[in-house]
């Protein structure tokens, strides 16, 4: 009977420290282990690295992925879109990670969000709809009121984190600010010209930025595998929490990062960085996106977004 579930699963992880649990899971073959324990035999796990929310969503809709990690806004967009379409519906499996996004600048005149003028340019990986852009909008909404959530949008420019870092540190371009994630946000602050204007955790709390999701059809057809995945994810989170040094080594190895394990460990241990399967603050995103009209269908509670396995957690 166990053979009724798929023998092979395709999972996409992203690039960077926020995807550490997935990286650990791959490296330690945790899913294979859990699947075997659940009596599923030797499940083959295909890992892919995909960059960018819409590519992940496209791959998911076209049936090329079974499980994927993605930024919360990207997930919400897809979830709202396919709600009610039995063929395409998706569900969150669990939270993945939370961290702080720093709004850094090399313009000494900027002390707070109020000080941005039309001449300042804030770099984001993608404007208006990316995770960073939504976080910025939420922060702006907090500061200036919901109606003005897009007040800083005209100052944003789309640049990948590495380019934004380079631009900020070199000071040679008109980009003088960056809403960045670790490690770029940390590294920027090592430069004396750069200072921090805002920390997202201070404004929004330490909410989940990334989560893991899967198509409903996959979940319904493969309940054991889904459960095994959740167990594997929990195991990975535990490993990170218990042995940060080892997690850091794994990261450095598998991502072929040029960072030292110590540096990675420091990032893992940062109090703002959390790896947990419990979705935290997802509703903050959902409510905001619903309010400003980015999504047409709003979930009533966070449980609407996730599979039953995690409903008992203290999510939000």
């Amino acid at each position: 009977p166990a053979r009724a579930e798929v023998p092979e699963v395709h999972i996409s992880k992203g690039y960077g420290i926020l995807y550490l649990p997935m990286i650990v899971m791959e490296h330690e073959k945790l899913l294979e282990k859990q699947a075997k324990a659940a009596g599923l035999g030797d499940v083959k796990v295909g890992w892919l690295e995909l960059d960018g929310g819409n590519v992940i969503n496209d791959a998911m809709i076209s049936g090329n992925l079974d499980i994927a990690a993605i930024g919360v806004p990207g997930f919400l967009t897809l979830w709202a879109k396919v709600k009610g379409n039995a063929k395409l519906e998706v569900s969150g499996l669990a939270g993945l990670s939370a961290t702080s996004l720093y709004l850094n600048t090399n313009n000494p005149n900027i002390k707070s969000l109020k000080d941005f003028t039309a001449k300042d340019k804030i770099a984001l990986p993608g404007i208006k709809t990316s995770l960073s852009a939504v976080v910025l909008q939420m922060a702006v909404a907090k500061e200036f009121g919901d109606d003005n959530y897009a007040k800083l949008d005209p100052m944003t420019v789309g640049l990948p984190h590495p380019e934004a870092y380079t631009a900020l540190v070199s000071g040679k371009t008109e980009v003088n600010s960056h809403l960045g994630s670790p490690p770029y946000s940390f590294m920027e602050l090592e430069n004396p010209q750069v200072h921090r204007v805002m920390n997202s955790v201070d404004v929004l709390g330490n909410i989940s930025l990334d989560l893991v999701y899967a198509p409903k059809r996959f979940i319904d057809a493969n309940p054991k595998l889904t459960a095994a995945f959740l167990s594997a994810l929990e195991e990975a989170d535990k490993l990170i929490a218990d042995e940060p040094a080892r997690a850091a080594t794994i990261y450095v190895q598998s991502a072929k990062a040029k960072l030292s394990a110590e540096e990675v460990e420091r990032m893992i241990k940062d109090p703002d960085t959390k790896f947990s399967t419990t979705p935290n603050g997802v509703m903050q995103f959902a409510n905001f996106m619903g309010r400003v009209g980015s999504i047409k269908t709003k979930p009533a509670t966070w449980q609407d977004l996730f599979i039953a396995n995690v409903h008992s957690l203290s999510g939000s």
Partner: protein, 295 residues
């Protein structure tokens, strides 16, 4: 009339014939009658219209069969989105923004290509320079230019134009240069006989003589300019509000409004058709076709 009748061995013997041609002066312009089908077949727009219709039908049928409008909507769904955003002015506005950038980048690419090939045709070292630069730089993706673009032009349309030029320049230069080098030696000699050299020779002899190649270069360049523009508007981040079609597509993609994404692409297709059949076809008809350089 005299009447010779010679018999060389096996030859057929027959009388000589002499006619008075001057009497039959009225020469009508005879035209071979064509069947209705042939006459219809000769209308290019009709033939092309049929092809387009067929493609649209295939799209529609495949889209419906696939039944995944989020990934690939049927033609009609796309058309609906297109008409809506055409009506409310969004697509026209975005198209305008894109076209402006595109035309500037395209024109600059053409100018630079003209410059480079003129230098190249003038001397051996010029040829080497063009060949080397082309083989080195042409394969480089836009991201390779990102750092330099940021330093030199900053964000926004300056950098987009820079990238556009990069995608247009080499294809046009390659085609033009190959065209120049294929110009027959006789025509070249005729031009030099008139005292032409350097720029004059290029302008008066090489460009018209190599026009089929140049036109191909322009077509390829035009297409690649579009591709690059759409991609570049994402990479180089438009400051919000000023986006073109690329941005329109990107935005809708992020919001999974797939029908609108395809409406944006459909706009690109339409412009491509208009430019091909309006601009390029007219140029071809008035130049190389008329001059008998292409059949």
């Amino acid at each position: 009339m005299t009447m010779h009748s010679t018999m060389h061995s096996i030859l057929v013997d027959r009388p000589e014939i002499v006619r008075d041609v001057s009497r039959s002066t009225v020469i009508a312009d005879v035209e071979k009658p064509l069947s209705a089908w042939e006459r219809l077949y000769r209308v290019p727009l009709l033939r092309k219209g049929l092809i387009l219709l067929a493609l649209a039908v295939i799209w529609e049928v495949y889209g419906r069969w696939l039944d995944n409008p989020l990934l690939f909507p049927p033609f009609t769904a796309m058309l609906q989105a297109f008409v809506t955003d055409l009506g409310n002015g969004i697509i026209p506005a975005r198209t305008l923004v894109s076209l402006q950038t595109l035309v500037i980048g395209y024109a600059m690419g053409i100018l630079l290509a003209a410059l480079l090939t003129t230098v190249a045709i003038g001397s051996q070292i010029g040829t080497d320079l063009l060949e080397t630069m082309t083989s080195m730089l042409n394969p480089l993706p836009a991201i390779a230019l990102l750092p330099l673009a940021l330093i030199w032009f900053g964000l926004g349309s300056g950098s987009v134009i820079f990238v556009l030029v990069h995608s247009v320049l080499w294809a046009i230069a390659l085609n033009t240069h190959a065209g120049f080098r294929s110009v027959s030696n006789t025509l070249r000699m005729v031009g030099r006989n008139y005292g032409l050299s350097g720029l004059g020779l290029v302008r008066h002899i090489l460009i018209p003589a190599a026009f089929p190649s140049i036109l191909t270069g322009l077509k390829v360049g035009w297409a690649f300019a579009w591709r690059t523009l759409i991609a570049a508007e994402l990479v180089f981040g438009v400051s919000s509000g000023s986006g073109g079609l690329g941005w329109y597509i990107f935005e809708n993609r992020n919001q999974l409004e797939t029908a609108n994404v395809f409406a944006g692409l459909f706009t690109v297709i339409l412009i491509g058709l208009v430019v091909e059949n309006g601009v390029f076809a007219t140029i071809e008809r008035r130049t190389i076709r008329r001059w008998g350089m292409q059949h």
